[in-house]
Symmetry: C2
Subunit: 431 residues, 2 copies
């Protein structure tokens, strides 16, 4: 049985108990959240995880790091290094988005090493193999696609992005909408071409039951992809995007009916003042299914610093109810991320998620900050460094611009915390 099927029977599985323990909630809370579809635990039966992660209502906001080769950079070793960096800086999940090199071998190498849940986008492999075998992506058969999905599931992939909402209907809406950046999802673009040129419906939509069957067999969590997500602020919250979300909402219910865990992916590029509405819309149309957002980016012009743009959007989205933040790295829109980008991306998203955790009252979040501030008040540098997201960097910066006194070199002798302690204490003469 899947976690969803167990939860519905009132059974709190070992996975649910471990998630509850990590989150400081009761196993019943997790079990009921899963039963209602508000929580998922991506954990393929065939993947050995060092711990389990719950994603959804009432739990800590989770962060995903995308890694993977491209046609220009196909070395698996680089990607394994990125995996290590992502885990070191505490990403909760990783997605292998490889599109270059031996895709099956790369995925298996990453799966072997990943102690945290792994997601993939099987259509990339299906598309690329079709080019190799049949000359063009447009020649892909539904069987080509489902064969790859089954391979990923059997290998142990914990969640898969499937762009089931790119359909004849939503493509019509897209055409009538008119957009600045049309489609920026690779899966969405492939399916658009396939549907239009073969004059057939999206196999992921038409044969959705076949997809559910595979997912159920391995307890793969479906992540319903947003192939029509806006790729620019100008395209945000438009009719094409919302049409796709309507379709995804219906597919969420069909997944639940089949006992399959499911979450929904969201934008993308969204103006600051439309983010909360986007989250509320997803929660309403998808009946509370966990929401997995990419950023969102709050401006199109921050290439080189899109991790900051994404952290702003992610914090607001998570405050509004988004459950799962896909990081964006500084190299987004410019090139394949390197190790530093992975680190910067994970940390930026963790700041966003943690800020929302505090506001959402997630257990332990507030206490972490309070402990840090007490250490700050006491000018206890060892404790401050220990509590940082990146202790190594904090220690380096503090040490590099050393101060002659107990306070840091920002304020030196004029440290407010030190002054107040002296004023209110026994040493006003020092001031």
């Amino acid at each position: 049985m899947t976690q969803l099927e167990l939860a519905r029977k009132g059974i709190a599985s070992l996975e649910m108990k471990l998630v509850a323990d990590a989150e400081g909630v009761t196993p019943e809370f997790v079990q009921q959240g899963i039963a209602q579809g508000n929580i998922v635990i991506p954990a393929n039966r065939n993947h050995k995880l060092s711990r389990y992660y719950g994603i959804g209502k009432g739990l800590r906001v989770k962060v995903n790091a995308n890694i993977g080769t491209s046609s220009d950079y196909g070395d698996v070793n680089n990607e394994l290094e990125k995996l290590r960096v992502a885990i070191e800086y505490k990403a909760d999940t990783v997605m292998d988005l490889s599109t270059g090199g031996d895709l099956s071998a790369i995925r298996r190498a990453i799966l072997d090493e990943s102690t945290i849940p792994l997601g993939t986008v099987p259509i990339y492999q299906a598309g690329i193999e079709t080019i190799e075998r049949r000359g063009a992506i447009l020649n892909m058969t539904p069987d080509d696609l489902f064969r790859v999905i089954e391979e990923h599931a059997a290998d142990g992939v914990d969640f898969v992005t499937v762009h089931c909402g790119v359909t004849r209907v939503s493509i019509e809406r897209l055409k009538r909408q008119g957009r600045v950046t049309d489609i920026v999802s690779r899966g969405g673009a492939l399916l658009l071409g396939w549907i239009l040129h073969n004059d057939q419906e999206n196999p992921l939509y038409e044969q959705y039951d076949r997809l559910l069957e595979i997912a159920r067999k391995f307890d793969v969590t479906l992540s319903l992809g947003d192939g029509l997500r806006p790729g620019s602020l100008a395209d945000a919250t438009d009719r094409a995007q919302v049409e796709e979300l309507l379709i995804l909402g219906e597919l969420v219910e069909r997944a639940w009916d089949a006992g399959v865990q499911v979450m929904v992916e969201g934008p993308g590029h969204v103006p600051l003042d439309q983010i909360a509405a986007n989250v509320q819309l997803q929660k309403s149309l998808c009946k509370g299914a966990p929401f997995y957002v990419l950023g969102p980016l709050v401006t199109d012009i921050a290439a080189g610093y899109d991790h900051i743009s994404g952290a702003i959007g992610g914090a607001i989205a998570a405050l509004a109810g988004a459950d799962f933040l896909c990081y964006v790295t500084p190299s987004e829109h410019l090139g394949l991320p390197d190790l530093d980008d992975v680190k910067e991306g994970v940390i930026a998203s963790r700041i966003a998620g943690h800020a929302a955790d505090i506001a959402r009252g997630v257990k332990g979040a507030w206490e972490w900050d309070r402990t840090m501030s007490e250490a700050r008040k006491n000018l206890d540098w060892e404790e401050q460094v220990r509590l940082c997201l990146d202790p190594q960097k904090a220690r380096h910066v503090h040490g590099q611009r050393a101060s002659s006194g107990k306070a840091c070199s920002m304020c030196g002798e004029l440290c407010a915390l030190q002054l107040v302690t002296d004023f209110l204490g026994a040493k006003p003469e020092k001031c």
Copy 2:
């Protein structure tokens, strides 16, 4: 006459016209905003500026960069380099917060070179000179303080932070409140000690008319400092902070009565879900005076990455109506910023401000993003680089991880934008 006095007489000054021109609004809009106290133009009669900046309602959100020596690092040349970096990356204003070295000489050197408005916190110099001359800050006389303020004003400082709201009354509130981090404002800490140990009222409050007289003479904009701002999430929006804001609201009106331009400073460390309330409270209590926020930081634990924490808070604050963002650098809470920190801090705050500008409908903001997205759609890399906040970095990242094709190396041959263009165009066989 000050800009405020001119505006009240219905006169649109040259400064107002230039601000209107830069913002794409009418001179009347600026004039009326200034007359109502919703807009300030910090421009000391004695400071030659290359352009003028309006701060307030209906205008682009502005960004300030703090520079300045500390007791550990007193070299003016480093600070002049930081000034150049801040201007290069388009900070709108700079504050010289120096507390080490020859403070008058440093300020004058920065003023000479700064083509953008400069702010200072005169009490730092007054306090440090008092230590040198009278042995302890507690021995500072009101005349010591006002002499320094007058020196700054006569030198051409465009706006000064004055912590007029740290009074006997607000200190009592602070004591009864109880806090994790008491006071983190250097000016606030100095005044607390001075008031308590001399058993006298804050001279900046008691002799506020004297302050107004100096400000009016040189048209220095007062920036009413928040000496009791929260230095940790646990202290946010507490009674001490709000008591000080009540006092500042009254002082705003007295400044207006005296023909003096005035803005109000705000926190600090604020949980994500309290930021909008903080802005609304300031706008209401201070009758629409421009709001100048420091960050705000949305978590206490991001040392090393506080520019990201500050960008999240700044974007939300600006969306809610804050007008002026003081940057926070990656070295905040750890040490004096270096050149890279200044750059990172300015860019992070500009992303926050720009994201809010788009949502606030500031002229030109939306168009910038749209032009960028059109260039992105066309895979026009020169144009994309040109439109970035940091063209040099964008070009470097793009070039360093070069792609063999027209798309970047992130997606390589599987670029969605390229695929869609091919699918919808004449080249489906390529896909």
